[in-house]
Symmetry: D2
């Protein structure tokens, strides 16, 4: 288990950090301002975003997430982890480097399972940051934590597929640049439990696709990206839009979600680091009851606990990344499940302490904590709620101690 | 310690509950819709609000918070607790019954310390729900958790006072009906530590009063009520706007904050009850991994812990109310500090569990949890952060065991 | 809900407190010393115990637990709560006042369900503190948290019952004065699930009763009381030893456990209060890193949180007691379950903080914290583990929101 | 940061694991039995111990803790970590491999700072496992968490030192083989704060050394090892018994405590692993309320959280070990402080969950959990309480963000 950073990674860390400090942090408020200035928060992308993307790409800080060297930077998960963490320090960071969810996951799906034609049509513009995409899996009417509940229909009709269903939390669908959705639905209701679902490419301008509304997250609309509720009513797409093959929905989801989950965790570590740093600076400048906040024991305890929790979460993330690289996502499933449980809760606690230390400023948008908190909170649900991952970890753990019921252990 | 409800209270509970079910809950979305439909979220109050206020007043469900029978319902804190809790189940509830912060606290200040003229001019329209008010205490540039840090200036100049300073979290100042601010500031910088501050009435239309911006809370703007940052630049008000007398700022704050704090706690209990009820209903209709959520042990544990925490917080709130009624706010200060620590954290945990149980729906605004969570989070800061209250509880506790340093205890 | 103490209770509180301070605390070490001095820790009861019992009885501080006025003090649960709490401040307290478990529970069973003869033979000497008793329910070979698992056999054979089984955690059986066990076992394996079990009186000197060993609790042997593992091998008792009737085991258990559980909680509150008081005194006499421990923020937070948790647990205990008195144990079952979950965990946290504040002294027996902690830890298991009580609370809570599966709630 | 195990380590892991399974676990009860059978628990060492030591030494599983190859196995901290963890699974494990505290720390002190003569006289028999030693630092009369409070006196008188003071928690002093104490005390009260203390070798049979009593830990006496309170009354030792030099007490303590602390953490991870494994096995054999415990969600959550916490604690321990090896104990002080906070609390939670899952068996000594819990609890105090380590972590963290007070950060 070797977590050492290669020279390449150290150099990328430095360049990313400089870019964040020089280009990203100073433009966070500008991004908000441009968004606010637009007629509607959903109609345009703040120009500063495209400008920053251009700069990042020029500097080679682009598509770092993709392990396959043909399309991306060819970094391993372990190499990408410390870089993704840096991007995650800002909520506008990942998009600037073309490393934002759900596009990264969708690009991975296309790289792994896409046909040449699908790649040409959708992967290429995604890699170029020209279009954006969404992922339509979760449904409002069932407990989607159990993906076998998903009930949208994908039906073969001659050389087409007919799609009907209602999805929500299709993140990114609000963006005017969003052109394509990967939709999960039932193609084979009679098949075996984990072979009933398929994933299919649905252009967002297809007749019958309707964005019903954008869902807020604790008051944040996350415009222009957004989280859409979408209905698919008798939507027709050519049969070649099917990804991989009918019935492969679960198989693709498993492949897609491993990296997706760990990327979220890396970003959350960055968010937590930033909140802790902000807190450490703030408390050195404020005084209450005759003593600087920095010298008050309770606040020191927050700082220590935050540092301790961040360290542990980072190490566990690195271990999961290392395992994904060396034994594969399937063998790493316990570790992936573990960090998916650990990182959001860790970030929520660390950020919450920072909020408390900042007082009123902490819950406002003068700093990034409140927004980062809200984002982190969704990640105890997105890509599987904590409870599902814990059950998975427990199952794998108990398997190590499999007891024959006939044998009396104790 | 008798927490039994009188017949009057039981009857009011029933009427309030009916009103909530028939008038309030069904109009929560309508309120949002009307707000959204207005040109700006800050220019008009949704008409449904005035309509509901009128209905509530007609039914005698009005100004229940005021203990003094001359102006209000004459209920004790203990009697008001179960009623305030019911109103708190909806974020638009309290205003409908003219029981919303910070107006309630401001009205209490005027009832207790206001001159006849101040009462006529400001208390009367507030009691009638015709105008609204804000409370300008906290400042952005100091750790206001220690109120001696407050540095706005209130200077006597002949028969006027000159006011200069910057305040924020002046909640309610966004409302077009908001006409008056109670401003706390330093009038006597040379006086004894707790006699330097005064409170003064400042009409919001005074020259030099500028609402700089409205602060969001986790993405919520809380329009049209809102939380304002306000600058006071050479604002002049007549000397008779001083409340009570110069140097009485702390004394008034203490009197004002006791009831204000406990009202927040009562409302939070209502918010928690609603979230728990929503969760209990939801999980009986959803199934995952082959079993209804309602039968899953982890979710049952959430429900049990929520019920247990609510019960305890309510009992402690009742005890604090009982003590305020019987031995006075000053003698009840440990109990007030305790519930101020307990209720927000309890509500945050209970609501957070409900959010987790609802999945994506929980963080959106389809239900009231996310908004209630954000509101509860501010109450670990507003009216004194948890840490200040805990330090107070500890100080009072240690006093019981005062050890002479010369005597060897152990 | 009236928690006020009657004059009688206040007077008993004062007398009990004096007795504790003058007679009990000063003799805790003496008790240990006498126990240590005996040849074996299991052969004799320290003479100081009988002396203190005599004094307590002389002062009328005797059998306060029994609600029925014929045999005991005739106090309600609500009246007994603050008294039981005082006794619980010392681990040797309850026995001194003849209010110790499991004797109190056993006496209640005999009062409620015993025949005249059973009362004469066993209740009378128990009320007089002449003998002691144990309760043999839990078994080593099954998960006894589910009492239907209990598999000891009680078989009718003519005018006798034949008893076979293995029990453990028969607390009190180590005491040389322990003469009688109430044994729970299966008499009717074919009956309905909750009518298979019976309770029967088994004199400990019956042939076939064998105390296999005494179980320690975190290193404490709790001599001479102790926790026994007992085998019953073809033990024969007269048919009239059956309590109430065959198949009534569950019914009796429910009646017995309600008061038993709440008494444990009352004592735990006393134990927590004592630990908190000891901590408050200690930290005023010690200095580290240039400041008295009493002025360090983290320790103040412990104190505040402890006070807050104790207050809430006490109020919930009083509510449960009040409900037992007014609507009966059955209707109070949610409240009994709640305090049974709350009180042990609360006490464990409060005592643990005190231990941490005392440093090495805290884990030793120089103070009572370590022993009280160990005792409290067993009470997250005894009389039903937390998890069973929480499941019960959840079930009752969900019932309030019973949703018809056909109706779409959300 | 490379945590990979070398072939040597993997092979030692396997051999240690086999030894534990074949020799140690099966003899834990035998050890207790022999101890019990002895006339006194303090007079003899159970013969099985010396037998197991002999076997371990024959197999080369001996003194693995010592990094210096001349005296020990020459393993780095990183290499020793996974081995120490295995030994820590049993409370009698470390002694068998001559890797038990406080002997390991004392041997390290002698290796690093001892004279040739001191090494010959004390280090050699310690390395051979012939004698044992204790470390007398903590005092009953001051808050020893702040080591500058230590007040025992070490006074030079000609060619001797005169020692006076009272120490407690001198662990190991109960062992009949314990021959030597390293005593910390004040030699230079006028010197600079951190140069007032010295460490000196005091043979336990010196006149004036009196073992006052053995302190229990939650009821455990930990015989024959034990935790002694010792008075030193005008004890005289030759000047050459001084370690390193006068005034070097703090410098030695720092060197001694780093490895000592991390060894404790490694062992605690082993203890936690064992408890988790025991729990996983147990729940697969027990049924309650119609379902195996293993299928109950709450218990699965315990298992997942335990696995997650162990993983994180282990990774942080490895990182601290790696840093000690590569940049030195001083540079690794934040990491050492962090694991010293993390590991005991982690172990306490994991073991406590196992206890809860075992029910009554868990608090008894039928399994090792209760004893391991009590041991882990002392480690939130020993070698510095959590609070001191957290303050240290916070101080180091804040230093990264040093803000000049004149510069306005926010």
């Amino acid at each position: 288990m070797n977590f050492s950073h290669s020279q390449k990674v150290i150099e990328l860390q430095e360049r990313l950090t400089s870019f964040m400090e020089e280009q990203v942090y100073p433009n966070e408020k500008e991004y908000e301002k441009q968004l606010e200035a637009a007629g509607s928060r959903w109609s345009v992308v703040p120009p500063i975003m495209e400008e920053l993307k251009r700069k990042a790409r020029e500097q080679g800080l682009w598509n770092l997430f993709l392990p396959q060297s043909k399309y991306g930077a060819g970094l391993t998960n372990l190499e990408y982890a410390p870089l993704c963490e840096i991007m995650g320090r800002s909520l506008i960071g990942p998009e600037i480097f073309n490393c934002n969810a759900p596009d990264t996951g969708n690009m991975e799906v296309l790289v792994r399972y896409g046909t040449l034609e699908q790649k040409e049509k959708w992967l290429k513009p995604l890699l170029n940051g020209e279009i954006r995409s969404c992922f339509s899996m979760t449904e409002p009417d069932t407990a989607s934590s159990d993906a076998t509940n998903i009930s949208a229909r994908i039906e073969r009709q001659g050389d087409h597929y007919l799609i009907n269903g209602r999805k929500w939390w299709s993140s990114g669908a609000g963006d005017p640049r969003c052109k394509i959705a990967i939709v999960m639905g039932k193609s084979n209701p009679q098949a075996e439990r984990h072979e009933q679902q398929s994933m299919i490419l649905v252009p967002l301008d297809s007749p019958g696709v309707k964005i019903e509304r954008m869902l807020p997250v604790f008051g944040y609309d996350h415009a222009p990206h957004g989280h859409a509720e979408i209905t698919f009513e008798n939507v027709t797409v050519p049969a070649e839009n099917m990804i991989w093959a009918e019935g492969k929905g679960f198989a693709i989801a498993q492949g897609r979600l491993g990296p997706g989950r760990i990327h979220h965790c890396m970003r959350l570590i960055g968010a937590a680091e930033r909140a802790l740093g902000d807190l450490c600076k703030r408390i050195q400048t404020r005084t209450a009851f005759g003593r600087p906040l920095a010298s008050q024991g309770v606040i020191q305890e927050w700082i220590a606990e935050s540092r301790i929790e961040i360290e542990q979460a980072r190490l566990l993330t690195l271990k999961a990344a290392y395992m994904m690289d060396t034994v594969g996502n399937k063998e790493a499933k316990a570790e992936i499940a573990m960090i998916k449980v650990v990182a959001p809760s860790m970030a929520l606690r660390v950020i919450d302490r920072a909020i408390q230390g900042f007082g009123g400023a902490g819950v406002s948008d003068d700093f990034t904590m409140a927004a980062q908190w809200a984002n982190a909170r969704t990640l105890r649900l997105a890509d599987g709620p904590d409870e599902v991952h814990k059950a998975q970890v427990a199952k794998l753990e108990m398997r190590k101690y499999k007891v024959k019921q006939t044998e009396k252990t104790f």
